[in-house]
Amino acid sequence: MQTPFATVAEAIAHAGSRWPDNGFTFQDEAGAERTYSFPQLERDTASRAAAMQALGLKKGDRMGVIVVEPEQFVLTFLAALRVGVIPVPLYPPLSLGNLDAYAHRTATILTSAGARVLVASARLQNLLWAQVDMVPSLERLVRAEDLVGTSAPQLPEIRPEDIAFLQYTSGSTSDPKGVIVTHANLVANANGIMGPTGMQMDPATDKGISWLPLYHDMGLIGFVISPILWGVSIVFIPTIRFIKKPTCWMDTITAHKGTASFAPNFAYALVARKARPEQLDKWDLSHMKAFGCGAEPINPETMRAFAEVMSTRCGMPRNAMLPAYGMAEATLAISLKRLDDHMRTIVVDADRFQGDGKVEAVEEGFEGTALEHVSCGPCFPGHEVSVQDADGNLLPEGVEGELCLKGPSVTPGYFENPEATAATFKDGWLHTGDLGYLLDGEVYVTGRIKDLIILNGRNLHPQSVEWVAAGVEGVRKGNVVAFSRPGADSEELVIVLESRAQTDAEKAALAAAVKTQVQREMGITAADVVVLAVGMLPKTSSGKLQRRKTRQQYLTHGVGFEGTRTAGATGDTFTLARHMAKGVWSRTKAALRK
């Protein structure tokens, strides 16, 4: 079975006549709900589409979207797709403070996209006015609520190969990369996610529940676009409501008899930690067939802990946890655990794996060091996953290398950025930068070649952190390294730097200042800042910093020397860290030797 539609524009126009009883339900921040049936969604998006045309927007024009309320976001986004206007979703100011850094990042992306109009929530207008001056192409700032048309829109022909929207989820502040997503990409990916080899979604019985941000691929493609292509009803919880009150996720699933949801690893840990006994007593998760997990490394312990409590206390089917693998460049997902399977992990001999990258499963009672890897299931039909070495040779099953992808979900490239596109595509394969292997046709992800740091689902380039840290007085310029270490729920940020500071007190003060600066400029918390004496950071013979080597030393305790630890790590974390470090980074070195 496949979606009957060739484009998302066609789906929005006709979902109402096919599935008149289904639709999207939007909660506000207090949890009050408003439902739009698919026929009503068709009418409201037509009105907004006409309003966009009245602003002078034409097919192919780019339009920034910074909208907090799911209801306003979805109506605006879908309306743009109907008239071929290319939305560029951006994240709203999420936390307290940090407005200057936020404004700068936002302006960089809007400039890269050449956006003509920025649509924003009414309550964000004052914060975003400066964008009009900062972005040369930007003509006006519009309130999402004001997009009401007075006549019918002139719907242009939308073809499968047309750009639907741009995803700016990767790339650094200095070089933003907008992933092109076409209608054909979206149709192919929706078939993989919702279809018979995916989550087997049935418009008559299934209901998705999502609190995921809509400016991110998992929330937008997984819970807005795929459902409208498949006719499945969805309930949207505002992300901010979930973060403030994580248990509202399970409350909503219970109230709506939800069957499918998705979240990054950290959210499962958060809910398990926050759930009170009286809440567990009243939650009913018996209808859930899929609790998907993706967007950051999947910790099997977190999955098992969540599954244990929710299946014993709330009736969740034991096989509902559903690991997934994908990335923005593959639209959203490329593989999912088979719906009826249980989550599968493999425990391998760490020394063997770290030595030559070969997978050798070990049994209980194994005496040596072991690593546990999670299967993300088989690749979608019509798509291909291969594992390649640094020279582009295909590696056999059970051997670690770079995961490379092909197929109709894979992006044609980055928007107006041929250099970045050429660097990512070689011989027709999308090079993901992720390390992993195939076993029995299933995808196992083991780490990343790129040094990208993923904190709670947010991608950070180490350079951006290093630059901020280097601006603190007392830090030796150009002698800062940032990387991630595995934490309990998500990855954590570590910064190692050189300084002439002598006493422990001076070092501690410098570490604190660096933490504060990174917090202020980027809105992120460094879990550890290590201050080293001059000349202690690993460098190449030509004096270039060796980020991976520093990380490896840190994780194996080698970079403790005279460092001042401002935050301790638990013994558990370090044991895990050491295993991961050796496995990932010894292979990485081999993979990068080009």
Binding site: P93, S95, L96, I240, I243, K244, K245, K515, T525
Partner: protein, 82 residues
């Protein structure tokens, strides 16, 4: 609510979202900056959620974005009670 009431409520919120750091949070004053609390953006919003639950109010996003210190939070909390 007095300043002392609000400060004590904020400390309860901090200890709720970042357990095990009572000693750090005991030193928090009205002039402490949010960015010096050592919370990431998710924990920060969890803390806001805790405060909203306690005072039975929802703080407007656009006001939250401008909060820099604990004192700024007290203004929001009082405004919600007005």
């Amino acid at each position: 609510m007095t300043d002392a009431d609000i400060l004590s409520l904020v400390k309860d919120a901090l200890n709720d979202v970042a357990p095990g750091r009572e000693a750090d949070f005991a030193k928090v004053t009205l002039d402490s900056k949010i960015e010096e609390l050592g919370l990431d953006s998710i924990a920060t919003m969890e803390m806001v959620g805790f405060l909203e639950e306690q005072v039975e109010a929802t703080f407007p996003d656009e006001e939250l974005a401008k909060v820099a210190s604990i004192r700024d939070l007290t203004v929001l909390i009082r405004a919600s009670k007005a």
